[in-house]
């Protein structure tokens, strides 16, 4: 399913002293199979944009086509849209509410009209995908779990309804390095099953460079780049002109280049950088 965004603009509290333009005339297309990163400084409109994708924010002006569904239409079937586009918020563990993990994870599927037995099967599957055993944690209260486990339960709650598109808002915020890696590997794993398209909103350039095949850059509500990580970090000056940063591997590559050791590799992850350096050394 293709997501097509056309001339999207959004203003918070229009016609009041609190008026704030969040998005200005944004257009781009996310194709099925993409892992798209959305980056930008705080307040650049990333979250506003991502919340448009499953109609949590209704469109003020412009258009979003979700496959054949036009989100700018008044009568769009919200449940169908939200079933197709799963959204994981920042710090999702703060949205857990049910008395057992099983019920919390099954909340989504039940809302989307699946019967009890199937919802509970979906919950078991989602929990095992995030590496938790329903027999072990299913009847515990989500508030008894550790922080990392709570986040995984929350993720299971989103993927239990088997969304085709997964939107992740700062999925790794507040996690330790191992936890970050786990979450991103999980996203990768999901992409080889029912999730077709992933959109990651992030501040972390390392993650974007390593996991995304495309990246959109927002700056004060405008789309200033729609390119690949290689294009953004190696072949443009966008990063220098905004408050973004280079991924660590690209930083190393650039420092080496300054000292006259030019590595011919996109250096988007450690492997690429190492190979580039080794290749250069072998010459």
């Amino acid at each position: 399913m293709q997501i097509k965004i056309e001339n999207l603009s959004y203003v918070y509290s229009p016609r009041t002293p609190f008026e704030k333009t969040a998005l200005k005339d944004i257009s781009f297309t996310v194709n099925e199979g993409d892992t798209m990163g959305i980056v930008g400084a705080t307040g650049s409109g990333k979250s506003t944009l991502s919340r448009h994708l499953n109609a949590l924010i209704r469109i003020q002006s412009g258009r979003i086509m979700l496959g054949d569904a036009d989100l700018s239409q008044r009568k769009v079937d919200l449940k169908a849209v939200r079933k197709k586009v799963g959204m994981l918020f920042q710090f999702p563990e703060y949205q857990l509410f049910a008395d057992t993990v099983r019920k919390d994870v099954a909340f989504g599927p039940m809302n989307f009209g699946i019967n009890d037995a199937e919802a509970s099967a979906a919950a078991a599957e989602a929990l095992s995908l995030v590496g938790l055993d329903i027999a072990e944690v299913g009847d515990k209260s989500p508030f008894e779990l550790s922080g990392g486990q709570m986040r995984r339960v929350a993720i299971a709650g989103v993927i239990a309804s088997k969304p085709e598109v997964l939107v992740l808002d700062e999925p790794t915020a507040g996690l330790d390095p191992a936890g970050k890696r786990e979450i991103l590997e999980l996203v990768k794993k999901l992409k080889s099953s029912f999730v077709k398209t992933v959109i990651i909103v992030s501040h972390n350039m390392d993650e974007i460079a390593e996991y995304c095949n495309r990246v959109a850059v927002l700056d004060e509500g405008r789309l200033i780049a729609d390119t690949t990580p290689d294009g953004l970090f190696n072949h443009s000056d966008v990063v220098d002109n905004t408050e973004l940063d280079y991924p660590h591997t690209v930083k190393i590559k650039r420092k080496l280049a300054k000292r006259g050791f030019v590595v011919d590799s996109p250096a988007l992850n450690v492997e690429q950088l190492t190979e580039g350096i080794l290749g250069r050394l072998a010459e």
Binding site: P17, R82, K83, Y94, Q95, L96, F97, F107, N111, V158
Partner: protein, 282 residues
């Protein structure tokens, strides 16, 4: 959630915005007394003029003011109807079982509703033009005499300002949690009363959990910074009684005098008004 106007600051640079918070608090109290003093319609008109004048001076858009009335519309309808039905008047127009609609009842309920509307408008003007911090600082300053009878005035002020500060934070939190649950297919505006109430649970529970977590963190942060270790804290913004406050006080005093005078038909001094005696009478 974003549309809750009751008690929300509306930024501006007007005369009223620049007044001392303490003066505004005292004037609001005077205003409330004035509303309750008003007896006949002429004095109500004087109070109305006072409110209209205050709104004009504060440059708060009228639509914003009307929104604050919208928030209490149910209360208005309820009190209006109750007073209309149960007032024991003499000129009865219509009666059924225990309900009596009389001329006096109509007049009384119109006054009642008018009184509520004026009260809300006057007091929201305070919260529209004064930041929550300003209000609590003003209250603390006004309550200073209570310190001598060992009332923990400063603590009360801190508690109040924290409570006020947390309203927008929690309202934002509600927004966020609502969005997250909506993304999981929850809907809050369909179904009957019971299913709607049930649908609130996925919001309320995370909200309470986060409110307690925040309170804990805040308490720790206050402790970590040795809050209240010194008895007399100084202020960043020192409050000063200025010419605006004097002018405001004089204006309000004039209206209070006018209301009292109108209540008493200017103690009989103003003959011409007798031709419209009924306005005084009701």
């Amino acid at each position: 959630m974003k549309d809750v106007t009751l008690g929300q600051y509306y930024p501006g640079e007007s005369f009223t915005h620049k007044m001392d918070a303490r003066a505004k608090l005292v004037l609001v109290i005077a205003f409330i007394v004035m509303v309750f003093l008003a007896k006949n319609f002429l004095s109500y008109i004087a109070v109305m003029l006072c409110v209209i004048g205050a709104v004009l001076v504060s440059r708060i858009p009228v639509s914003k003011m009307l929104k604050s009335i919208k928030a209490i519309i149910m209360i208005l309808i309820f009190t209006g109807l109750l007073n209309l039905m149960f007032y024991n008047g003499e000129t009865v127009y219509w009666s059924w079982w225990r309900f009596n609609v009389s001329l006096e009842g109509i007049i009384f309920s119109v006054k009642m509703v008018l009184r509520l509307v004026l009260l809300v408008m006057g007091t929201t003007l305070l919260t529209f033009t004064t930041t929550p911090t300003g209000i609590t600082d003003g209250m603390e300053s006004l309550m200073t005499p209570l310190k001598y009878i060992k009332v923990p005035v400063h603590d009360i002020a801190v508690i109040m300002s924290i409570a006020l500060r947390f309203i927008p934070i929690l309202s934002e939190e509600v927004d966020k949690i609502m969005m997250a649950q909506k993304a999981r297919g929850a809907s809050f505006d369909t179904g009957g009363l019971v299913s709607r109430a049930k649908a609130l649970l996925p919001i309320l529970i995370p909200l309470f959990v986060s409110a307690f977590r925040r309170a804990d963190e805040l308490a720790m942060a206050l402790d970590a910074r040795c809050y209240n270790a010194t008895p007399n804290r100084t202020r960043y913004q020192v409050m000063k009684f200025g010419w605006r406050d004097l002018l405001g006080a004089l204006g309000t005093a004039a209206f209070v005098v006018l209301v009292v005078a109108l209540n008493n038909n200017f103690w009989g001094a103003y003959r011409a008004v007798e031709s419209v005696w009924w306005l005084f009478a009701v």
